[in-house]
């Protein structure tokens, strides 16, 4: 399998002086479900946001889907971004718009400005959006405003939005951290399905080892902006866990 993501010696120093990423090297193969572990502030979010240039990196190279992310600007950058779906902890939906409209925004990278303000006239887009909502089991909520949906439902709308991009890679920044355990598992199940059925590469940051073991094909653990562990989920025992999360940590089971 070919490498879909290649990151070489990536550094990120924020304006206030925080050195968030210290020479990160990471290669992800197409079809992997890669879990990022690590404490808050270990650099997971920064790494994910550098991958689609929501944050500019300080130095280093990033290649995703054969595109040079660091050098890309304008149209080239948008071409790369539209192949990368992103899912956020706070869902980041537009709360006072309907679920359907939110899903349609996933198409923005592919269409012109004029097209994007007249989505209702484009039957193909509407049908695709409805299909994606159906896929995450929210067809009957299409015309509801997102703020009236529950947390789990909102995250599924966000997944449908990412699907609308027909992405090759999905970046998920703690997608279940704001959800209760049962909902968390159902959201992860959708991500797992996209990985297996649609062969999408998923990079997902998590806090729960049990979910990592269940869905991940590979685990990368970060600490203070550096990779401290790379391997399969099964390899993480108590000793490695303490190395990642510190001596005080106890593993929390979630089923």
């Amino acid at each position: 399998m070919n490498n879909i993501i290649e990151i070489k010696d990536l550094h990120k120093i924020y304006a206030r002086g925080t050195h968030a990423l210290k020479g990160m090297n990471l290669t992800v193969k197409e079809g992997e479900f890669c879990i990022l572990l690590g404490l808050s502030g270990s650099g997971k979010s920064t790494l994910l946001r550098c991958m689609n240039k929501l944050i500019d990196s300080t130095s280093g190279e990033i290649y995703i889907c054969d595109g040079d992310v660091v050098k890309a600007t304008g149209k080239t950058l948008r071409r790369i971004r539209r192949q990368i779906g992103m899912i956020f902890q706070q869902f980041n939906l537009i709360k006072n718009l309907t679920a359907l409209t939110n899903v349609l925004t996933g198409k923005l990278g592919y269409v012109s400005l004029g097209h994007s303000v007249t989505f209702a006239q484009h039957k193909a887009d509407m049908k695709l959006a409805m299909d994606n909502l159906k896929r995450v089991g929210l067809l009957e909520f299409a015309d509801k405003k997102v703020k009236n949906l529950s947390g789990g439902q909102q995250q599924r709308v966000a997944i449908a939005r990412a699907l609308m991009q027909n992405p090759r890679v999905i970046l998920a920044d703690e997608p279940v951290a704001s959800l209760d355990p049962a909902t968390a598992d159902s959201v992860m199940r959708y991500l797992g399905e996209l990985n297996k059925k649609d062969n999408m590469t998923v990079i997902c940051s998590l806090h729960f080892l049990s979910l990592a073991r269940k869905y991940g094909t590979r685990v990368v653990a970060l600490k203070d902006g550096e990779i401290v562990f790379e391997g399969t989920p099964k390899e993480i025992d108590e000793k490695k866990f303490k190395k990642i999360y510190g001596e005080e940590a106890e593993e929390v089971e979630i089923k």
Partner: protein, 404 residues
């Protein structure tokens, strides 16, 4: 360390200089107004005296500036025992005395001259909503009731003239008729005078003018403010030289235009396009653009950045990000601000009318200059009613919009 010391001394020096200039300036003003003594070259004298006092007192360590700018050791001295304590007391006293003189405060006038305001207060409590008029019909009826033709001819000149109250009508009757005629026919003239709500109609149409000019000023301001607010939002402008310059220029111009009161714009436009509602509309529009740009852009700066990030990540371009991530978040607060602005504009339109902006303000000015207090009463009550209604409804609508 040494630099800091020099800096603090310079700061102390200029603070003291300002303090002494103020003290001598105030003293001169008081001497001038109490003893009517004219001095020449006062500005230079004040400056020299202040300079001398500053240097002398500073060299003795008695200085207000030193207290403010040098890091002093903690002392337990009460303010009564320090120089700066007394300077502040002195500053407060002299400011109060000068203020009292400048404002010409006069409690005696306030308590003894209420009778001067009797006209206007009787007008307010007895607004002439219904006036009187001798119409063709009144004349016919008077003829049928055997009022002689001589008397009617004398009344011919006040035919169809509007009177705000019977009192005003009888004043005119006194001028036209002699004592006997007045005694005999006054009551029947009163009886057949047609009621007429002239002033109320005039005031209502002027009021409509005011409300509509405020509405148009608001509507015309919206597109300008809408576009400008995006350019004046820190979080939307790219952190490049061009982005920063656009942000700064738009912000600065909006601030300058906002700090010029609508009344000043009204004076300018009443010369430019002539006295009338159009001038008032332009004045309020300019002021509204500046004010709404500020309110709108602050709203944009307060939006949730999450959706912006998410829409960017889909590969959307800048305009698509604005349309899908920014506008949906700001549309209802924008509406709320706009309605609030209309509310403010109706109130300001009244004031703007006074300086040539048309509408009910202009009518109020005219009636006040003609000393028609009963008409002034009508206008004042109407303005109060409209302001009250607008205030209530706009608050209700805004509350609903916030929930949306």
């Amino acid at each position: 360390m040494k630099n800091n010391k020099i800096k603090s001394i310079i700061q102390a020096f200029f603070t003291d200089l300002l303090f002494w200039i103020y003290v001598f300036g105030c003293s001169y003003f008081l001497i001038h107004s109490w003893f009517e003594i004219e001095l020449t070259n006062t500005n230079i004298h004040i400056l020299i005296a202040a300079l001398v006092f500053t240097l002398v007192f500073l060299s003795f360590g008695m200085s207000l500036g030193r207290k403010i700018f040098s890091p002093t050791k903690l002392t337990n001295l009460k303010w009564k025992k320090t120089f700066w304590g007394w300077t502040i007391v002195f500053l407060l006293v002299i400011t109060f005395v000068v203020g009292w003189n400048l404002v010409e405060v006069n409690p005696y006038k306030f308590f003894t001259q209420f009778k001067n305001a009797r006209g206007i207060s009787s007008g307010i409590f007895d607004p002439s909503i219904i006036g009187y008029k001798l119409t063709e019909k009144s004349f016919e009826e008077l003829r049928e009731n055997d009022v002689p033709l001589v008397v009617l001819e004398k009344l011919e000149r006040i035919k169809n003239k509007s009177y705000t109250t019977k009192k005003v009508l009888s004043l005119d009757l006194k001028k036209k008729l002699d004592a006997n005629e007045l005694l005999e026919y006054k009551s029947s003239i009163f009886e057949y005078a047609q009621k007429n709500s002239n002033m109320l109609n005039i005031a209502l149409s002027a009021l409509a003018e005011t409300i509509f000019l405020a509405l148009l000023a608001t509507i015309f301001a919206i597109p300008f403010a809408f576009v400008l607010s995006f350019l004046a939002a820190r979080n939307l402008m790219p952190k490049t030289f061009l982005g920063n310059s656009v942000y700064l220029i738009v912000r600065t111009i909006a601030t300058i235009f906002r700090s010029i009161e609508a009344i000043v714009w009204a004076i300018i436009f009443s010369v430019w396009v002539g006295i009338g509602p159009f001038a008032g509309m332009l004045a309020l529009m300019i002021h509204s653009i500046a004010a709404l740009t500020k309110l709108y852009s602050e709203q944009i700066e307060n939006i949730d950045e999450g959706p912006v990030e998410a829409i960017k990540a889909t590969g959307a371009n800048t305009f698509q990000v604005w349309i899908f991530a920014v506008i949906p978040q700001i549309i209802s607060p924008y509406l709320a601000f706009t309605i609030y602005r209309w509310d403010i504009n109706v109130r300001m339109a009244t004031i703007v009318g006074f300086v040539g902006g048309g509408g009910i303000g202009l009518l109020l000015l005219q009636q006040q200059q003609l000393l028609r207090w009963h008409n002034v009463g009508v206008i004042i009550w109407l303005i109060a009613a409209v302001v009250w209604i607008m205030d209530m409804t706009s608050a209700k609508v805004r509350a609903k919009l916030v929930e949306m």
